[in-house]
Symmetry: C2
């Protein structure tokens, strides 16, 4: 699978100045808190059943960017929160995220995530399902100990929406006639809902007015949509080293993402026949992935997917307008650019 495409050639806008170091800036701001979150994660995923911390540790230590807990931490701080409750709640957000990853990998039958073997590839599907259930339950236990019904509402609602989105994706899978609208509904639910909830929890813990909770939720939701759109473009345009997943995973699974939706809508009948064969019938030959990427370039589908991401990114930034300027706000705004510009 030697299809490594760089989006550089398709770049239209100059790289916004803040993007490059956005993640580092955010990390520096929440550094102490994030260390405390990591300690909480390790302590609370403990169980006398050894396989649980082993398996959970494998995926948690695989070192995602801790994007979601960082959002909770930065949101709480931006809202002026000075206590410690946001630490445990950020860990809950990461537990819920990890549980959905474990179940996702079972559902997708993935062997690789973030460049490492998936838990289901190492320990089997059964263990992945059950340890996911454990982490999910543990998240609710930690929230109950925290004692805020408002937070419990935010994260139980998000969890239900995520599961609904995953089922929706399952039922629309392999349908090349999926509309952009239907695709957006899926990513709003399966990715953006948890970004939104992670941010809203930050405002809730700080006991801020509803308008600020709503604003942070809108920020997270639109950031999440942008993030997933870029992810879906990168699946056709990155390499295993930077992505931690193989180029063309989505293609091989017949997953319908926006680059496909746009290419299909803009394609002629012969091209649509190609998409149907490869994605609906999953009848794929050598060279098909290259052809897919070629068609995407021909129709500008990858660049336009990034362009759509920019649209949601702009909404995310504007939704922070009601907050006073400050280091956290600047970091959150720059994070939007990072989420989008990491494509380059």
């Amino acid at each position: 699978m030697a299809v490594v495409v760089n989006l550089e050639g398709e770049r239209k806008n100059p790289r916004p100045s803040g993007a490059k170091n956005a993640l580092q800036n955010l990390l520096a701001l929440v550094d102490g808190d994030l260390k405390a979150v990591n300690e909480t994660i390790v302590r609370r995923m403990h169980s006398s059943v050894d396989l649980i911390p082993q398996l959970a540790g494998h995926i948690i230590a695989a070192g995602g960017k801790r994007m979601r807990p960082m959002l909770t931490l930065a949101s709480a701080r931006m809202c002026g929160y000075r206590g410690q409750r946001h630490i445990g709640l950020a860990a809950c957000v990461e537990f819920i995220h990890t549980a959905t990853l474990l179940h996702d990998d079972v559902v997708d039958e993935s062997d690789l995530r973030r460049g490492r073997a998936t838990a289901n590839a190492v320990w089997g599907n059964k263990a992945s399902v059950l340890v996911g259930d454990f982490l999910f339950s543990r998240a609710f236990q930690v929230m109950v100990e925290d004692g805020s019904l408002a937070v419990l509402a935010i994260l139980s609602n998000a969890s239900a929406v995520i599961a609904e989105g995953e089922v929706l994706q399952l039922t629309t899978a392999n349908d090349t006639e999926t509309s952009e609208q239907a695709y957006l509904e899926v990513i709003r639910a399966k990715t953006a809902a948890l970004f939104a909830a992670a941010c809203r929890v930050g405002a809730a813990v700080a006991d801020r007015p509803k308008a600020e909770e709503d604003a942070l939720e809108a920020y997270g939701l639109n950031l999440g949509i942008a993030f997933q759109l870029v992810d879906d473009a990168l699946d056709y345009a990155s390499d295993t080293a930077t992505m931690g997943k193989e180029v063309g995973d989505d293609f091989r699974d017949g997953k319908i993402t926006l680059p496909i939706v746009l290419s299909f809508l803009r394609g002629d009948e012969e091209e649509r026949t190609f998409w149907r064969r490869t994605l609906e019938d999953l009848d794929q030959k050598d060279g098909d992935l290259s052809r897919a990427v070629e068609l995407m370039r021909k129709h500008n589908a990858l660049a336009d997917t990034i362009e759509r991401a920019r649209h949601y990114g702009r909404i995310a930034k504007d939704s922070l307008g009601i907050f006073a300027d400050g280091a956290e706000k600047r970091a959150l705004i720059d994070l939007v650019d990072f989420a989008i510009e990491r494509a380059y």
Copy 2:
């Protein structure tokens, strides 16, 4: 698979008088409430993603005995509760139970449950995992709406314990040297914990003193252990029509239950070689299931499993001692006999 064994021949004690109609008596007592629970279940499992109510409805409508929600209802009424909150919470208990069943069937790769095709056999593993996640999240949403942190604590704790028990079972699977102690730990977690929580929620909703909550939890825990012990005996001694699962399912899966533990401990070296071949290596031939049942009879393993169940049943009954006599208490006591004597 024509091995249909009846435990009748092994019965030592006469059938307690209350057992026969115990389930009917309990049903009659909670009839109106249970109808409301069923309505709540149907209403709250709704989703705009059609597959969710379809799949959830398949397993919920398959008509388990609604044992766990009935326990919540009867416990609440015995504690003098006269409100309506127990309805929604009983539905939560059933949602959590259903979610674990859906994930169990994926884990066990079962094709049949309660005499019907399992959801994973009809819709596939992926949908079963995700709809399980949805029901689990929905249960927490309903609890959050109810607004009691005490109830949320009871059911999030139970959920974590259940998941731990399932993982423990996975890691001890196919080990013929499993001790009775280790086996009990598994069923305490994977079955009895939810029975215990279902009962405790009944006391919590009625706002009763801790002693009554504890007593009802002890009742549920011991009833649950007895219930699972009998289930495990029935797996070698019933038929598909009464059990809704096939005789020998556990044997074919190499699942180590008490009838196996006792037969192995009481067997000679040649018999242990048989158990290791069939359950550890899963190298099974025609006639092996019959041989297994023969060995169980030789060592009185099925009758003694039921005898162990009686022990826990007696503890369950005694734990209700602090409650005043009344129709609910009598029904709960008779339910213990039903759980055990359904073996006959």
